[in-house]
């Protein structure tokens, strides 16, 4: 190509840029509208869900009042209707707590292992396998839990615990394998890949200079993890944890298959090996055949309770994360 006149090129460039900027101006407007539309749509959907739940559960709140949240009776027999959500709120919180207690240390451990200890091919393969777990549908975990895993849990974990520590109320009940403990363990397996994946990215994002500074000061690998990685990734790890918690609280079919589905007062777990039921599993269990209006309203009411719990947890998460990151940045200054 022959060299062009520089002036000419400049003019062309300006022209081109101008054209492009005008074009992108229209594009910008369009994109802005699209993004605003999407956000408004999401907000609108949440509002709609809340309205539908509140509207549908009105009859049960009119009948039971606050008793619906604090009551323990759950009777759908015609003429004896009485509904209280407390056992399922407790069941939800207990099974999720067990799941988190197991999943968070393991996930963070895997994430540190992959990013810091095994940066080679083994780490890549391991993280690939962990992510593969995330692709397994939760119903598969549930069925596997029901047909295979619960026997292992009963024979190798619950029986020994019950035989050794049976005097403590926590392990007092004769284990059957379908209980909050099993549900918690299988939920943990389900949420480990999510927490691991997010934690890994968080840890990866920590600047090398920080880690090297720790090493330069003579830190061992564990000391480096303790002083350089964990403090600066605390916010992100917290976020990963709450993401996992959200999944654990809302999970339905997996829990239904392995938690033992007790009802009413019997659903309040008195030990680790008690049968229980969560908010979402009782909805899944009873919604199909609930022809009675009050029963239906009570189930929608459980949906509302779950909705409120989820919002509460998310708000609490945002609050805690902002607190932690603030205190950490204070520390740095």
């Amino acid at each position: 190509m022959p060299p062009k006149d520089s002036k000419n090129t400049h003019a062309e460039l300006v022209k081109k840029l101008d054209l492009q900027s005008r074009k992108s101006f229209i594009g910008d407007k369009f994109f802005k509208g699209l993004v605003i539309g999407a956000s408004v749509y999401t907000l609108f959907m949440v509002a709609l869900v809340f309205f539908a739940l509140a509207d549908g559960s009105l009859p049960i709140f009119l009948k039971e009042g606050i008793n619906f949240v604090t009551g323990t009776d759950w009777n759908a027999v015609e003429g004896r209707e009485s509904f209280g959500a407390l056992p399922y709120i407790i069941g939800t919180l207990v099974s999720s707590t067990i799941a988190m207690a197991i999943a968070v240390p393991i996930s963070v451990g895997i994430a540190i292992f992959i990013t810091e200890m095994m940066k080679n091919k083994i780490g890549t393969v391991l993280s690939f396998i962990v992510e593969l777990l995330a692709a397994v549908p939760s119903i598969i975990y549930g069925l596997w839990g029901l047909f295979v895993f619960r026997f292992w849990i009963r024979d190798y974990i619950e029986e020994p615990l019950h035989n050794t520590f049976g005097d403590f109320s926590l392990f007092a009940q004769a284990p059957f394998g379908l209980d909050v403990f099993t549900a918690g363990i299988i939920l943990a397996i389900m949420i480990i890949p999510i927490i691991t994946a997010v934690s890994r990215e968080v840890i990866k994002a920590i600047p090398h200079s920080q880690k090297e500074a720790a090493y330069a000061l003579g830190a061992t690998r564990w000391e480096m993890v303790k002083t350089a990685i964990l403090p600066s990734s605390r916010t992100g790890l917290m976020g990963a944890t709450f993401l996992g918690l959200g999944r654990a609280i809302g999970e339905t079919m997996l829990v239904t298959l392995v938690i033992g589905n007790a009802i009413g007062l019997a659903a309040i777990p008195t030990s680790l090996f008690s049968q229980s039921q969560t908010l979402s599993s009782i909805i899944a269990n009873e919604f199909n055949e609930a022809s009675n209006d009050l029963h239906l309203s009570a189930l929608i009411g459980l949906g509302l309770v779950l909705f409120v719990i989820t919002i509460f947890i998310n708000v609490a998460a945002i609050y805690i994360i902002s607190k932690v990151s603030k205190s950490y940045s204070n520390l740095r200054e």
Binding site: N75, V77, F147, F176, N261, A262, I263, Q275, E289, S291
Partner: protein, 364 residues
């Protein structure tokens, strides 16, 4: 650049397709000559067989059945969004009032068996209604309880805790089982009552017949209730239950038919309220005591549902007539209990009373 355009076109066309598919599907559903039903999951395999077989009899009629559960079936039937409903339990008094003029047509039978897993016991266990009630109330907690021993003097029972397994999902099976227990045990009737889902004081809840069966088979010293057809195909051990006349009856297709035949004379006319109809705890020396009907629900005058025209009304009535007579031959191979003649006669009278804007639909 051209790639970008390609992607945009692809995106827009995908969006368009996703918007159009539901419209297309709707128009398919609304096509003429199709009968739409919804309801109980229990008769689904039978109704699905009828769908295939009835095509051979009458190729113009296309049957669609959604097994969404009895509750959903009753709801859709009452809201007139389907042509017929199906339910494992009869309409309750309030549901019957709400629906207007509904008729009940028993289309098949089911019975509930008590399946158990006691490795030491090989001969069938004998149980009575009150003992079953006490087990599920948590009052009898050991397998070698004197009350069970007394019924099974020849069996050495282990001194193990009984674990009861019930359905966690709302179910017609639970309704039949609790209906029976309410009849034979005043204690059960007083504290628990009958319903598709009740407040179980003890035990483990498992979803579906499969869930209950899996919980029983995998764990020794359990007892639970499942549909007869399910127990037969999975080869579980199940108990003989004492009937009203004092005989211990093994659940089977025949003993269920005995129960229905014994109670057929007490059935109301099709258009009356069936809310109190149960065939649990029947008379008759050979009747198995825990069985029930599964029902098809129609309006007495099919024009009550504005989406049904005369031609369709005729097609529905003819299909139901076929299903309750010739269609019964497909029941037994699938593990269902065919209707005895006495019930077929009751259905015939009900079908003859069906009308469309006052004109009878089946005349011969």
């Amino acid at each position: 650049m051209s790639n970008l355009i390609k992607y945009r076109i692809l995106g827009i066309s995908l969006l368009a397709v996703s918007l159009l598919v539901p419209i297309y599907v709707n128009s398919v559903h609304a096509q003429k000559g199709s009968i739409n039903g919804a309801g109980a999951t229990f008769p689904y395999p039978l109704i699905d067989t009828w769908r295939v077989e009835y095509q051979k009899v009458n190729p113009d009629v296309n049957l669609n059945y959604a097994s969404i559960g009895s509750g959903g079936g009753i709801k859709q039937f009452t809201e007139k969004t389907v042509d017929f409903g199906a339910s494992d339990a009869p309409l309750s008094e309030t549901e019957f009032q709400k629906a207007g003029s509904a008729v009940h047509i028993p289309e098949t039978l089911g019975s509930v068996v008590l399946a158990y897993n006691i490795p030491e016991v090989t001969t069938p266990l004998k149980l009575t209604g009150p003992v079953i009630a006490d087990i599920f109330l948590g009052k009898i907690t050991k397998w070698d309880d004197p009350k069970i021993k007394e019924l099974n003097p020849d069996v050495t029972l282990p001194s193990e805790n009984i674990v009861t397994v019930h359905r966690s999902d709302g179910s017609g099976t639970t309704f039949v089982f609790t209906d029976y227990l309410s009849k034979v045990s005043p204690d059960w009737n007083h504290t628990i009552g009958k319903g598709k889902s009740v407040q179980w004081p003890v035990g483990i809840g498992a979803p579906g017949n499969e869930g209950v069966a899996a919980s029983i088979q995998g764990t020794p010293y359990t007892i639970g209730y499942v549909e007869l057809a399910y127990a037969l195909t999975t080869q579980m051990n199940y108990a003989s239950v004492q009937n009203k006349e004092g005989n211990f009856i093994t659940p089977s297709v025949n003993s269920t038919m005995e129960a229905v035949s014994a109670e057929a004379s007490t059935l109301p006319s099709g258009s009356a309220s069936w809310s109190s109809v149960t065939i649990t705890d029947p008379s008759g020396p050979d009747s198995y005591p825990i069985s029930s009907f599964s029902y098809l629900l129609l309006y007495k005058d099919l024009s009550t549902n504005p989406s049904i025209d005369e031609q369709k009304a005729k097609a529905i009535a003819e299909f139901v007539e076929w299903a309750t007579t010739d269609g019964q031959q497909f029941a037994e191979p699938l593990g269902y209990v065919p209707l005895p003649q006495s019930v077929v006669d009751v259905n015939e009278a009900t079908l003859k009373s069906l009308t469309f804007k006052g004109n009878p639909l089946i005349t011969n």
